[in-house]
């Protein structure tokens, strides 16, 4: 693990502004992967960079990459809090308990934990409505598949992933009633070799459109080799597979980082649970492949507009799970709080949710 500290502009300004130098507002970030993963952590870091650009030398950011989700995380977060950071963003689900523990010890520091559900007075949570992107992915995959079999590479069976699997299937089913969804758990967020194996195992079983919930572009590369389609995760992955790439659902964290840091500076910050989607520009459809058929492109656009404007709500009742239980009654749409607890597969998915 490397600790990289970025002092942007400070050094250059030092000579001029020493006399009335103001202490910059320090913001820390903890990433689970390398910033070069071109997926999840990469996009958090782009959000950090944009936030830094927005505030200029009023803000000093520090990030620590490749932090494993466990005791190590607690040490790193503590270190950042001790170093005088006023806001610390911890950007992986597995940092939840370490963040809670450190937040208790540093009541004057604001903590923001991505994708978690535990909050405190000085600890807020934020997440993306990735299910919106998955729904569009599902619709597209449902139209593109010739074998009526879509593959989903999951990382870990946590609510975020389960929810996205449901959204993918519901999207696909809405355009292709015969579609089947095969799910493989890689048990890792980032292991290109394992992700390749998972992609191949799915393709061997007739999958011709891959959706991945892991962070490396390896599944796209594997899909390109076999001449099938795949959808990019978290960042624009089009350059890894010009033919196979359908589109990428890009995470855009910058608006949230700018807003939050501003609020803490102004003293208006309050702990809350924030969900950002296409509507907030925190999700973006990027690099829709020009080699897609025109009708598919039209349907992608139509679905995108519907999801963005809210006329399409993937988790609008009635929805039954695959054991026959009504999980969303008619007339109800899952609230954010309920979305955070989804632990069922929607009717039609033949697998069982792992414990």
């Amino acid at each position: 693990m490397k600790l990289k500290s970025l002092l942007i502009g400070l050094g250059l300004m030092a000579g001029v502004s020493l006399a009335h130098a103001e202490e910059p507002f320090k913001v820390g970030f903890v990433y689970v992967g390398p910033v070069g993963d071109l997926g999840w952590s990469y996009e958090h870091d782009r959000g950090r960079e944009e936030m830094q650009k927005f505030f200029g030398d009023k803000v000093k950011t520090t990030f620590v990459e490749n932090v494993s989700e466990g005791a190590d995380a607690q040490r790193v977060i503590t270190q950042l809090a001790k170093a005088g950071n006023k806001v610390i963003f911890t950007t992986s689900f597995g940092f939840m308990n370490p963040t809670i523990k450190v937040a208790k010890r540093f009541p004057n520091v604001v903590f923001e934990h991505a994708t978690g559900y535990k909050r405190a007075k000085n600890l807020g949570t934020y997440t993306l409505r990735t299910y919106e992107g998955r729904y569009i992915s599902g619709v597209t995959a449902g139209l593109l598949t010739k074998t009526n079999t879509i593959g989903y590479i999951g990382a870990f069976p946590i609510p975020e992933v389960i929810r996205d699997i449901d959204a993918t299937y519901m999207g696909a089913k809405s355009v292709n009633p015969d579609v089947k969804l095969k799910i493989v758990w890689a048990n890792t967020w980032y292991d290109p070799g394992k992700e390749t194996d998972a992609a191949n195992a799915l393709m061997d079983q007739g999958v011709d459109v891959l959706v991945q919930h892991t962070d490396s572009p390896a599944p796209l590369i594997a899909a390109q080799k076999r001449g099938v389609r795949a959808i990019g995760q978290a960042s624009d992955m089009s350059k890894f597979a010009d033919k196979a790439h359908v589109f990428s659902v890009r995470d855009n964290w910058a608006p949230y980082y700018i807003k939050t840091v501003q609020q803490v500076m102004d003293g208006t910050w309050k702990s809350q649970d924030f969900w950002g989607g296409f509507h907030d520009d925190m999700l973006q459809l990027s690099s829709i492949n020009p080699n897609l058929p025109a009708d598919v492109r039209a349907k992608i656009d139509q679905t995108y507009q519907g999801v963005k404007s809210g006329t399409i709500q993937p988790f609008k009742g009635p929805i039954t799970d695959n054991t026959g239980k009504v999980v969303v009654p008619a007339g109800h749409t899952l609230t954010d709080e309920e979305l955070a607890k989804v632990n069922w597969y929607v009717d039609g998915i033949t697998d069982k949710v792992p414990n």
């Binding site: 490749n66 493989v184 758990w185 191949n200 079983q205 390896a218």
Partner: protein
């Protein structure tokens, strides 16, 4: 499960087993000379990153492989100097080499993360590839896999049927006796270690140029360690190493395949399969203690100093 799926699983098992096979073939020669090099993971990562950088910069995958083998040898040379010249403990030095290689590869590779290269394309061997089933499993691979088919035969021949093999065995079994009859023990060990390093570098380049044509920190994900277990698993026999490598490949593929088929077993349990397989084979091997004693090179892990008289 239909025949096509079985063919594809076996095809994938060979691909997954290939890096393990390459490392284990190098390490078995090294161990036959009496040296235990636990630095496989570090050397493999260095091979992967340097191979990737060379292939990415020159656009030539063959050059990448060459660079990876040189890097692997260079890493093993560091090990050799410490162990042979300075008499350092082999286990500790090997572990240090792994930690060193893991960190250094992450450092020099950070600029190259997020790129991809045109690695080796699969080549279907004329005629052989048209054999039903077998052709699809064995003869539609890339050049490195074909190389890995030929290497065990060559290595087994050299180790068991030639003078070089005898010298190697003498050095590994009883270096003092070998020294007494005029064999340069240290020179033989140097060469064996360098050969092992080159093979591990080759395996690293297989990961970053063929398997997943990209560089990512720690992308070998413990394969170097599995290969070390494989050498013991195969009780230092080249033929068994080949079989074991594909068995390991098969086990690690099956955990994903079974999930796709909807088999209702915990994926964590399935992910353990290759490791469980290792433990089982270790138990089976050590059950026959006498046999194992016969097969493990007798001076394995012991330093040699010609001034000591045995």
């Amino acid at each position: 499960m239909d025949a096509d799926l079985i063919v594809q699983i076996l095809f994938a098992a060979i691909k997954t087993g290939t890096p393990l096979l390459l490392i284990a073939l190098g390490e078995v020669i090294c161990e036959k000379s009496g040296i235990l090099n636990l630095g496989q993971e570090g050397m493999m990562l260095m091979g992967a990153v340097v191979g990737f950088i060379a292939a990415f910069s020159t656009g030539n995958a063959g050059f990448g492989v060459l660079a990876a083998m040189l890097m692997g040898s260079f890493m093993s040379l560091i090990f050799a100097v410490l162990v042979l010249q300075l008499g350092a403990n082999q286990v500790a030095t090997g572990l240090a080499l792994t930690i060193f290689g893991t960190g250094l590869s992450a450092f020099i590779g950070s600029e190259f993360v997020g790129n991809t290269v045109q690695g080796f394309q699969p080549i279907a061997i004329p005629l052989l590839a048209t054999i039903p089933y077998l052709g699809d499993i064995l003869f539609k691979h890339d050049i490195l896999v074909y190389l890995s088919f030929g290497l065990p035969i060559t290595i087994a021949f050299v180790a068991n049927r030639t003078r070089i093999g005898l010298i190697l065995k003498a050095v590994g079994e009883n270096p003092h006796a070998a020294n007494a009859i005029g064999i340069k023990v240290l020179k033989v060990r140097y060469l064996a270690i360098l050969f092992g390093g080159a093979m591990t570098g080759l395996a690293g380049s297989y990961m970053s140029l063929v398997y997943t044509p990209m560089w990512a920190e720690n992308m070998t994900a413990g394969r170097g360690w599995i290969a070390l277990a494989l050498v013991v698993f195969a009780s230092w026999r080249v033929g068994r190493i080949m079989l074991g490598a594909y068995l390991f490949g098969f086990a690690s593929i099956m955990h994903l395949v079974l999930q796709g088929l909807g088999v209702d077993i915990s994926s964590n349990l399935l992910a353990m399969m290759p490791y469980v397989a290792t433990v089982i084979v270790m138990v089976v091997i050590s059950a026959d203690q006498f046999k194992e004693k016969l097969l493990a090179p007798r001076s394995l892990g012991k330093p040699f100093d010609p001034r000591d008289m045995a």
